[in-house]
Symmetry: C2
Subunit: 487 residues, 2 copies
């Protein structure tokens, strides 16, 4: 016997929590906490927000998932959290955007990026890419590696020897944004337009999850993996029926589906896939093939003392090659150091005298290390040894994320491979276009970082998409209510 | 008795020279050198290109006008000059874009821009401006000073004390791009999108003028100030008649009018104005009021020895105030040091051991110093004293430009004041739009840096606009020729 709710939200990540929060806190809402339920597959809520306080041996707090407020000029989560007092920029935030310190295997000490004008060339490459793709619409997509190689060839006479040697490799910093290799990355969509700086969230993103949850007070059922969604059922006093692996059935008038793109893209037969009845229209299924899912991972090392320059925000150790070809994958995860660049975040800027480094990794390194976390130090040590003239210490603690091992996340967030179309899935899933997705009037709404253009892949994008779903439902409810009262 | 030419070009700057060059060197051109004439008001050709080899006491060459290849990824002049061998990037070019060294009156020594993350905030301000104006089309224009002040107010909680103190003043670097003060500058159009880096032209831009002239071989009459343009005259065997102050009359089928915006905008009664018969349509006259003319000037000091850090590309001495208000103009050119920022170009990067500094100035400083060049050292000395810990030397030579004193240029190049519309004049003068300007089929064509969007204000923009005029004429001639042959 199904429990009947007005709204059933699938997923208790930021988008689902914000959807519930908005539904229940909006002025003049017609919904009560008992009208809304959230089903969460995992034993915990928060989705790809995961603030950990238990793993550190130094008493530190780490965000194993999302950690920054990106687009700090327009970030809705940031500004609403400042406004309601839950986030104080001065004590809780840090702009870790000091000029990057670069290292390369063949260079002793820090690369003199300023003296060699390396960033100027990286910026030039990014402008070249923009011009290449935007000034002629029919140009076929190529990988970031290929478009960088084209720049190097075409602009050769403008470059110094160190620029030729280093700048292509520096462009691979984008791997640590998307969590995929330059070899696979869409060149056309590699260069982002940021709406402001990136503010590191020192207090941990759990504050947001806790705030949304505490202000919402609807039931959240955890460890309830949704397996089947029957939609637009006729002849019943409810519209949709959701069934979980544990056998729970929720009947609902409105659904908000916030599962990650990595789950949506699975076949119905897959143990973690969703069965849709009727199946999702071909246009949605197709669109899910034009985006991919990245694997940004983190490896955290804690030490008994700081052996690097504690005044720097971050270090980037370059890969040996420009190309970013997935040698690794080809030869069965035989990954060696300096094949892929790493971004090393100096945690001493976040908590004074914290002898901790947080390293970002990309696919396929993330899969490799998340599967075998005991190899993390051996893999990272030769690269980390570059960032200091001092003797490198052995870590007293190693923490490795498990996003690629977790069957409910299956990676980090959506990312664009060569030939992908970022707008297609968004158009199909945003619910804002007639004849697209499930249609503008379907009471099944999608939300999540993969369903929105502004803030795609980010906490605030997920948050805004949850709000968008809630707003639609609130409007629809109000219209139906008015219609009933009138009749 | 008028001399009859097929094409009369008014102005022997880059746009006029390129128009003649293209007309006479195009494959299958129907024109001979004797069919084309250029009338130039000044005693010299080149317009706002002026490479000087006579004023230096150190044997140096200076470009008193245009000096850089801007937009080095797409610059037509740069690529055509590389291709024909007239410009060698390695020996003739220099990217002077090393991280800027900033100085301020209240700071001893160089401002630690990297450590204080000042450039990051300047970039954030520029993104803020873009978002402010582009994300809501109806937003009224305000000055650069005002929009920067708005950022400082709105984003206060994100900024450190040094950032609040310095970054607004750093944004005034744009004054040294446009040659106008932040107080007058359109905020909406202040932030430029560059198509690549800026390549300094070490050999001097005269190479381009000489190349165009030597390959063209049509008559160029100098010291011939055009005073009257009679157009579309009926009942004659020519279409237009141009008269100069010296009484020269040129009858022509096609006119290319390349006089600067500062001349076009003058009343017909003005001694340096043009009389149009019939008068220019109101839409053109109106459009000339929606752009202004900047006054970028240069002050060059030569010394007996280098007393600054010869390894740096450039120094910027900040003004004391954020606002850029024209205090100066209000109080009758009572300009003091540190009221306006200066950009100081280290000429030792161009010619080894050249003890020379080239300083860029903006209006109203340019007018002030160009009128009284003997005051240049007294004005600059306190600001220049900031850029070195060493004792500042007295100069052995001072060179000041005279663009604002020259009645044929009246400043540097077009610039946008608050409320200006950059596209209006371009639409009216480009000759590419029906019912705009003189119409798509008029045989009077306009050219010059003020008539084109890509490369506006630049040598390559002027060059491309001259080519555009020539291409139109060549096509029109070919069509008429075919029509005649057919009939």
């Amino acid at each position: 016997m199904a429990m009947h709710k007005k709204v059933c939200i699938i997923g208790a990540g930021v988008s689902g929590l914000r959807a519930a929060h908005k539904l229940l806190t909006a002025k003049d809402t017609l919904l009560l906490p008992s009208d809304v339920i959230i089903l969460e597959a995992q034993a915990r809520i928060g989705g790809r927000i995961k603030t950990d306080t238990t793993l550190s041996k130094l008493g530190l707090t780490y965000d194993l998932g999302a950690a920054w407020f990106h687009d700090a000029l327009t970030n809705s989560v940031l500004y609403s959290s400042i406004e309601d007092g839950s986030f104080d920029v001065e004590s809780d935030g840090y702009f870790n955007d000091k000029d990057m310190c670069y290292y390369a295997k063949e260079h002793p000490g820090r690369v003199d990026a300023a003296g060699l004008k390396l960033e100027q060339v990286v910026e030039d490459i990014e402008k070249f890419i923009e011009i290449h793709f935007l000034h002629s619409l029919g140009v076929p997509d190529v990988s970031l590696s290929e478009i960088v190689a084209l720049y190097m060839k075409k602009q050769d006479c403008f470059l110094t020897a160190p620029q030729k040697q280093l700048c292509g490799r520096m462009c691979r910093y984008l791997e640590l944004w998307y969590g995929i290799s330059a070899h696979k990355m869409s060149g056309k969509h590699a260069v982002m337009s940021h709406q402001g700086r990136n503010l590191y969230n020192k207090k941990g993103y759990s504050f947001l999850v806790e705030k949304l949850q505490s202000q919402t007070k609807c039931t959240i059922m955890t460890s309830e993996q949704v397996t089947t969604i029957q939609r637009d059922i006729s002849g019943q006093n409810f519209r949709h029926l959701v069934t979980t692996a544990a056998g729970t059935e929720i009947a609902a008038d409105y659904l908000v589906v916030t599962v990650p793109q990595s789950i949506l893209a699975l076949d119905a037969e897959h143990s973690y896939g969703l069965t849709w009845d009727p199946p999702l229209p071909a246009r949605i299924q197709q669109s899910l093939k034009t985006i991919h899912f990245g694997a940004l991972g983190k490896v955290i090392f804690e030490f008994s003392e700081i052996w690097w320059d504690a005044s720097e925000d971050a270090f980037e150790v370059l890969a040996d090659e420009n190309t970013g070809a997935d040698v690794a994958t080809a030869s069965g995860l035989d990954i060696s150091p300096f094949m892929y660049p790493i971004y090393v975040f100096n945690y001493a800027t976040i908590q004074p005298s914290a002898a901790s480094l947080v390293i970002l990794t990309q696919s396929p390194v993330t899969e490799y290390l998340e599967a075998k976390p005991h190899l993390a130090w051996a893999y990272m040590k030769p690269m980390l040894a570059k960032i200091s003239m001092q003797q490198i210490c052995e870590p007293i603690n190693t923490i490795v994320t498990d996003w690629t091992q977790n069957p409910y996340s299956r990676g980090s967030y959506s990312a664009l491979h060569v030939g992908d179309d970022p707008s297609d899935a968004i158009i199909q899933l945003s619910g804002e276009y007639e004849s697209c997705g499930l249609g503008i009037s379907s009471t099944v709404r999608f939300a999540g970082e993969h369903t929105i253009a502004d803030g795609a892949g980010c906490v605030h994008g997920a948050y805004d998409s949850g709000e968008r779903a809630a707003d639609w439902i609130l409007k629809h409810l109000a219209e139906n209510h008015q219609a009933k009262n009138a009749s």
